[in-house]
């Protein structure tokens, strides 16, 4: 189980959960609304040019750009093979 922000580029993973960093964390809620929910396939497609931030993540068939601090909230399981 690793944080989405630490996932290597082009490695497939499955979302485990999104953690709130504070009670009623609006960003975590937003991430869930955008499809970062348990069982959803994700993959890192690109990194920003400076300090590899933000991160471009493919979730389902949508690309979302998240800042590292946002992606830190998501824990994922790597999928091997394929």
């Amino acid at each position: 189980m690793i944080r989405l922000s630490n996932l290597e580029k082009n490695t497939s993973a499955i979302v485990d959960c999104v953690e709130d960093t504070q009670p009623h964390d609006p960003i975590a809620q937003r991430l869930r609304d955008l499809g970062f929910v348990s069982g959803e396939p994700v993959r890192i497609v690109a990194h920003g040019p400076w300090r590899a931030d933000p991160i471009l993540i493919l979730v389902g068939s949508t690309r979302f750009a998240l800042r590292r601090s946002e992606a830190d909230r998501v824990t994922v399981r790597e999928v091997f093979g394929r």
């Binding site: 960003i27 040019p49 400076w50």
Partner: protein, 618 residues
């Protein structure tokens, strides 16, 4: 409004092609306004169905979810729930979903269907879906969702015919059949996700999660080195276009109004009325409309970049850098536009979703060196800075000009950073930005967007700017000089008095009363400072006289004063048109006050230091 007008609300995720569908349905018959108290646009259009039915179509802001705190999504939710005052509950909801991105969009569709309105689901971009081999079982979707499902291709002529047919066939009193098991109990998010998965498994076949073409383009466009190079080229092109297309048009408009003023002046007797018509009204109108070409060219490119999907990519590349100075990646384009003119820059901040980021961008945008500062810079640099070679290759004049641009950018970085520290609430700014598929921009959508932007500018600002211009004319014309007066007329006017009074304020900066006076018309439009200085120094206007004006200036004040004046123009709160736009866009005089206040303080301190330091060396 007749009772048989059908009220339809158009809803959908951002990037579902809703606006293109709206344009397809209503053509040019649109009304754009703002929802009260917020800068969220309210777009309404009308059309008549083949059977002669009147339809009033409301384009609600794009939303990912109703469970949100963003102002636009709250409006969409409240209108649909009938909680938005002054907005009737729609008779029918047309929910638009991108057929290539149903995994995301069906979630919102489910939220909408659960509100219990009659809903038609428009599966948009069916052509792109077919090309990618995506198969959608419409019958199953229709049955499972309990709503009518139609296919649309918003960007193709006649691509909305199935939707129009469905609208024609629906009727407000005969509600659509809805699935029985739907309860009014709020479903939890997980529930919606589970339902989406079940729907996808049953009704959608997708050979590949993404478009191969998008993946390939992104490998180039988002590459750390290549991506930034492409971005630099795009920006260079936009800038070139603004100067080579926009600027000549602006000059032509200025010349045209000058000619018009002369013609009108010839027909009027000499006196205040003539001066009001030629200098006040026609001159003022020329100033307002003179902004238009640059605004149009810039917005053309911004719209094309936005429609094509490149704009969020540019924001992605620059986000980390912009964040470090208290802004966001989305601030970049408006700030870049501000190098031409702060007005389109401020108008362009509408694409920044976070209200705090948007305000920060609006406040620093006027610090970018706009093209109106150039005539002033050119005059002063030409008159006071020698054409020395520095280090053998650089021209000192060029270096000073560069330093002034850099000062503006440095100022913006500092102000952005300070503001992010002062903001104080400490809550995290979110990026959470979708990068949509690349699309070919459509001429009609770009044209309608341009028309909207320019009519907003002309309709809502002409009055304010014209009024201020006439006021400016008034104080620099009255009272008229007494008989036998020797000095230029402006000496005896209110502006003259104000200039002399301002001299006490500006003396520590090394400004004499003539400079102080020229700052008053410069507040209307920076470039008029040159004309004002020409007037007070008794040099008749015209391009050929710039040299003689330069001589007059260098004979009348010191290099230290000139440098201080240059620095003043780099930071000073100008022009009033920009302040009027800030008022318009933020709907708050407080923000205008903040903008004016901080820029005045910054310009004053910087000019003061420049003058005092320069004096030590000279």
């Amino acid at each position: 409004m007749s009772s048989n007008t059908l009220r339809i609300a158009l809803v959908g995720n951002p990037n579902c092609g809703k606006t293109a569908l709206f344009n397809q349905l209503t053509g040019g018959r649109q009304k754009v306004a703002n929802y009260a108290g917020v800068t969220v646009e309210r777009k309404e259009g009308r059309f008549v169905t083949p059977s002669g039915r009147q339809v009033q179509l409301l384009d609600l802001p794009g939303a990912y979810s109703f469970d949100s705190s963003s102002p636009d999504e709250l409006i969409t939710r409240d209108v649909l729930l009938g909680r938005y005052r002054g907005e009737a509950v729609p008779d029918l909801v047309v929910c638009v979903a991108d057929a290539t991105n149903l995994r995301l969009h069906l979630r919102f569709v489910l939220e909408v269907t659960r509100l219990g309105h009659p809903v038609v689901l428009a599966l948009n971009m069916m052509d792109a879906a077919a090309k990618r081999g995506i198969k959608i079982d419409t019958g199953t979707l229709q049955r499972r969702l309990g709503v009518k499902v139609v296919h649309t291709v918003a960007v193709k002529r006649g691509g909305a015919s199935a939707l129009i047919e469905a609208i024609d066939g629906s009727s407000a009193d005969q509600k659509m059949p809805r699935t029985a098991e739907r309860s009014d109990v709020r479903h939890s998010g997980d529930d919606v996700h589970a339902e989406v998965r079940a729907l996808l498994a049953e009704a959608v076949q997708m050979p590949r999660a993404t478009d191969e073409r998008d993946d390939m383009l992104d490998r180039w466009a988002l590459h750390p080195v290549l991506g930034l190079t492409i971005l630099a080229c795009v920006m260079f092109l936009v800038f070139q276009a603004v100067y080579s297309i926009g600027k000549p048009m602006t000059d032509a408009i200025g010349d045209g109004f000058g000619w018009l003023g002369a013609q009108a002046g010839a027909g009027l007797p000499d006196g205040p009325l003539r001066s009001l018509v030629t200098d006040g009204l026609i001159g003022g109108l020329g100033t307002v409309l003179g902004f238009l070409p640059e605004i149009l060219v810039l917005f053309f490119f911004i719209l094309v970049l936005e429609e094509s999907g490149y704009l969020p990519r540019a924001a992605f590349l620059l986000d980390r850098f912009m964040l470090s100075v208290g802004l966001s990646g989305r601030s970049f384009i408006p700030l870049l536009s501000s190098f031409a003119c702060a007005i389109p820059g401020v108008l362009g901040t509408r694409s920044i979703t976070d209200p705090r980021d948007r305000l920060a961008t609006i406040l620093v945008a006027p610090l970018m060196t706009c093209s109106a500062r150039l005539p002033v810079y050119a005059l002063l640099i030409g008159a006071f800075i020698p054409t020395h070679r520095v280090l053998g290759i650089f021209n000192l004049q060029g270096l000073v000009l560069f330093a002034l641009y850099a000062a503006g950018i440095g100022g913006a970085v500092t102000v952005g950073w300070v503001m992010s520290k002062l903001r104080g609430d400490g809550s995290e700014q979110a990026l959470l930005m979708e990068l949509p598929s690349y699309r070919m921009p459509r001429a009609r959508d770009v044209a309608i967007g341009l028309w909207e932007r320019s009519s907003i500018f002309v309709k809502r600002l002409t009055g304010v700017i014209l009024a201020l211009t006439v006021l400016m004319w008034f104080i620099s014309t009255f009272p008229s000089p007494p008989d036998g007066a020797t000095g230029p007329a402006i000496d005896y006017s209110f502006a003259g008095y104000i200039g002399r009074a301002l001299q006490y304020v500006f003396e520590p900066l090394g400004f004499n009363w003539q400079i102080s006076l020229s700052l008053i018309p410069a507040f209307a439009a920076r470039e008029t400072a040159v004309a004002a200085l020409a007037t007070v120094y008794g040099v008749s206007g015209g391009d050929s006289d710039v040299v003689s004006l330069g001589h007059a200036l260098s004979g009348n004040f010191s290099v230290a004063s000139a440098l201080a004046l240059l620095v003043w123009f780099a930071f000073a709160p100008q022009c009033m048109s920009t302040l009027a736009v800030i008022r318009r866009e933020t709907r708050s005089w407080r923000n205008v006050g903040i903008s004016f206040g901080y820029m005045f303080a910054m310009a004053y301190v910087a000019s003061f230091l420049t003058y005092q330091i320069a004096r030590l060396f000279s």
